[in-house]
Amino acid sequence: METEALLSGEMREYAIYFVVKLILTILVFTLWMLMVPFLIWAERKVVADIQIRLGPNRVGPYGVLQPIADAIKLVFKEDITPALADRWIYTLAPAMLMVPAFLALAVIPIGGAIHIGPRSFAIQIMGFYKGPGLYVPELDAGILLVLALSSLGVYGIVLSGWSSANKYSLLGGMRSSAQMISYELPLGVALVGALLLAGTLRLDGLVQAQAARGIWFIIPQFLGFVVFLLSGTAEVNRAPFDLPEAEQELIGGYHTEYSSFRFAMFYMAEYINMVTISAVAVTFFIGGYRLFANGFAWIQPIWFALKLVAVLYFLMWVRGTFPRVRFDQLMRMGWKASLPIALFNLLITAVALTFFPRSNTLVLSIASPVLAVVGFFALSYVIAERLARLTRERPRRATERCGAEVR
């Protein structure tokens, strides 16, 4: 009976769906993969520009072939496995870091809906597909997939640090994974404010919600955007938060003992993680792929790429500007600063939405972030002042009670 239905009706639609999704996956994945060499070159050029020097400029015009030269060098190096390393985990750990990094790109929408005859689908690997007799909706919990995969990236780091049989690697791995799990919380909570405004967990739904409310969520959720970028940078071990892989402190951290292609995998995974965080920031806060209307499906990926490059440039700018943050300062900032700010933002957003649920009131868009930022700083100032007064008064009271001078 199945063979009867094979090339007629529903089965044929399934086959077309499969082919369309396969082509879409290959195209979108290739586009994302092309970001990596571009980023390698761009980062070195941008950081060099900030440090008033030329970046790579020998290999190809303006050094654009530098990533290819790097890749060839890395592939031809000798592949060493330490003698005491746990062989299985040492081999699998880079893959455990890379696979979630790449998988997270499957839910990010880079374009709207394309209509070809009776069929329509979104430019998103796990996007919707609508054909005669077959409707496959978009993945409903898109952002949960991204958060879950970033949690899985911790395995790659801690296992590569542990299996290298090297004290510095173990230290780097433990530090890096502690940093990553500490910043997962502010990352998620910072996004919840935007999710409340959108009312859906789907990434495509977020882009449509920003269109429906008529404003990019960076304005009502400015505090959330700041916390998200901060936590995202810490989450991917980048910019001023890259202590676990710093050469001056820990040799190479968790990727010390890896050479050749395995090191290339770590390198690629870090850039892809950075791209994912930037892509989520663009989708959630800067309007995503939407140009002016829901049409123009062929130009929207270019507009999305422009926004993405802007956020990535900002991340590289931060890398070249700030000194490295010490590890205890980092953890303190994560738990005592980022998480309370994110929760406060969520509180203000929830209260504002309860009393002003309509989509485009001025109150929601302008007053609530102002209130959030001002209120937070006012509150922290008041609390800090009270605390300082308490600690200032205590020693004075003790000496007055004793009546004697302390020698």
Binding site: I89, L139, D140, L145, S151, V154, Y155, V158, L159, M174
Partner: protein, 171 residues
């Protein structure tokens, strides 16, 4: 129907094999990783059973947070395998446990496949948004509001408790 049976068999074999590997393996780090694979297999089961929100929560919470915590503690304690080579308190305790477990499996299998559990009829298909975040959230905040609030208190207690338990006495 046939496709679902094939999927079920593959996932069930993976789940049972990794569960046995967790129980049997001498190296605790391998046991943690096998359990993570088991949780992935269970998450795929949840997707087959139209519970996609729960599937993502499984990966996010169980595989992504709880097992990372296990991995940290396993690496921190760094126990050798010598801990297992002790005598049983009761004679033949371990063999008896395995035999009785087999009896339990057979018994549970018989109960699960006969009587009230046996459903030959195909259940009705569920709606489009069954198992997504919206309806579950609606239920959590209306029918199950009290358990939801109590779990938040429970998590606070757990946080405070674990911080207090592992604090180093600096006196």
């Amino acid at each position: 129907m046939a496709a679902e049976l094939v999927l079920f068999v593959i996932l069930a074999v993976v789940a049972v094999a990794t569960a046995v590997a967790v129980v049997v393996s001498k190296n605790p780090v391998y046991a943690v990783l096998f359990l993570v694979i088991n949780f992935f297999a269970l998450a795929m089961f949840y997707i087959v059973l139209a519970a996609q929100f729960i599937a993502f929560l499984q990966i996010l919470i169980y595989a992504g947070a709880i097992m990372v915590l296990f991995l940290f503690v396993v690496m921190m304690l760094n126990l050798t395998g010598a801990i297992e080579n002790v005598q049983d308190r009761l004679p033949l305790q371990r063999r008896a446990a395995v035999v009785l477990a087999l009896v339990l499996i057979v018994e549970a299998g018989v109960i699960a496949t006969t009587g009230a559990f046996r459903q030959a009829a195909v259940p009705a298909p569920v709606g489009g948004n069954f198992g997504t975040s919206g309806p579950i959230g609606a239920k959590l905040f209306s029918d199950y509001l009290l358990p939801f609030e109590l779990t938040s208190v429970l998590l606070l207690i757990a946080m405070v408790g674990s911080v207090v338990l592992t604090r180093r006495r600096t006196d």
